[in-house]
Symmetry: C2
Subunit: 236 residues, 2 copies
DNA sequence: GGCACAGTTCGGCGGGCACCGAAGTGTTCG
DNA sequence: CGAACACTTCGGTGCCCGCCGAACTGTGCC
């Protein structure tokens, strides 16, 4: 497959909408994606088949449902990086068309998942905190320090178990905050921990997350973060 | 700009060919790119205008020549990452159509520039050596060690001067070797050093590099690398 | 076993885009 | 100053693709 063929897969507003939705890290059904993108089931079916054949998505059948998800972390990083670069080019993408959309975009700016790690203001704040506390260093590259290794172990995150083909820590540029946040397998593990411990919970079907009261306490105690009480759709 | 619009810029074989050519890090004229891609000057002109307007390329006029280059390192990383992912999907892109193309692809596999850093077997070998010698560590992320800082200083590369918005060290997956090589500002500085000291020199107008006899000596002395004497188009 | 649901396949329709040649503009050189 | 070169603009042509409705298939539930 060539560069223009891969790019062609994403050069359509319906397929692009599917991929952006799937950046929440979850599996969606074909019907859900059709409704999300506002197209008919037949259109969705055809587009999904092309995305699967092209290697960006993976599928799984369960009874009469066809579930699809992003094929792998590299596909997710590709799509996120394209979206970040696109949003940095002048003439920004759509502004909120109505109140509901404005609320959604605000929620996503607060906290959300970026494929498998925390993003939005929460993601940036967590990244600033781990840097400030010396748990991760960016002096000579981006690496977990010895203190960070111990801290992660106290959170049940074993670095040795995370070693693999993906980088342990990677900096991911946030499209809402335009600042970096922690990605890589450590970033994913932290996100998983936050969801498991119910420090954050998902809002609806999008990528938005809400910090729970218990989460506010945990982030204060573990990282010294004072997070605002979240009011749905309201001011900080 | 949205994801599908940005992807649409690359979803055409002519524009994709332009961007791949520009991954050599140099500026090309519109006429050179037209010939490279096998299209007429008018076609090239229109495509280049779209790529510039879309933020992937930057242009500069000099007399009757229009020079274009990749807009910034992020654009280069995007294109390289897309090309790497595309090549990893089954049904590989074009195999060499003739002897000349086979020779060119072989040369690029040996050593080439990947936008601004060394890639190919040379890039991978250099990366393996700096890891083995403890100049860069990947234990807990990708970072230059204290020994590496000193070594780079002995090569006239000052880390403090390299600090900026780009990561110092970044791992870039190589599409010919399918292994990682050193990217980021340190990777770029090393490549610049190798070109300045004439350890490598460019071959023709592509991205291929040849290791010079002086370079073979330098790589052996500095990093313990035994590089084969390069025979154009021949076996190792 | 029949009905409802989820998804697939296929032919038709309309819109958009890549390409080029011709004519033009701007720059450079003899 | 005129010719040559590099590039641009624009109208025309042909091809490709996204979308959908209708008919179909497979699954699940009552």
């Amino acid at each position: 497959m060539s560069l223009d063929q891969l790019a062609g897969l994403l050069a359509d507003r319906t397929r692009a909408a599917f991929c952006m939705a799937l950046l929440d890290g979850r599996a969606w059904t074909a019907g859900e994606l059709a409704r999300h993108a506002g197209v008919s089931p037949s259109t969705a079916s055809e587009h999904l088949s092309r995305l699967v054949a092209g290697g960006l998505l993976a599928e799984e059948r369960q009874g009469r449902h066809r579930y699809v998800r992003l094929a792998n972390p590299a596909a997710a990083a590709l799509i996120e990086n394209l979206a970040v670069y696109a949003s940095s080019v002048a003439a920004p993408a759509a502004t909120p068309g109505n109140l509901r959309e404005s609320v959604r975009m605000s929620a996503e700016a607060q906290a959300r998942t970026c494929y498998d790690h925390l993003a939005g203001r929460l993601g940036v704040a967590v990244t600033d905190a781990v840097l400030a506390r010396g748990l991760v260093s960016d002096d000579a590259g981006f690496a977990v320090t010895a203190a960070g290794r111990a801290w992660l172990a106290s959170q049940g995150i074993d670095l040795a178990a995370l070693k693999g083909s993906r980088p342990l820590v990677r900096s991911c540029l946030d499209w809402t905050e335009r600042r970096h946040h922690l990605a890589g397998t450590v970033g994913a593990a932290l996100c998983g921990r936050a969801l498991d411990q119910r420090w954050v919970e998902r809002i609806g079907t999008g990528r938005a997350l809400a910090v729970t009261p218990g989460g506010r306490t945990a982030f204060r105690e573990l990282l010294g973060l004072e997070l605002p009480a979240r009011r749905p759709g309201g001011a900080e």
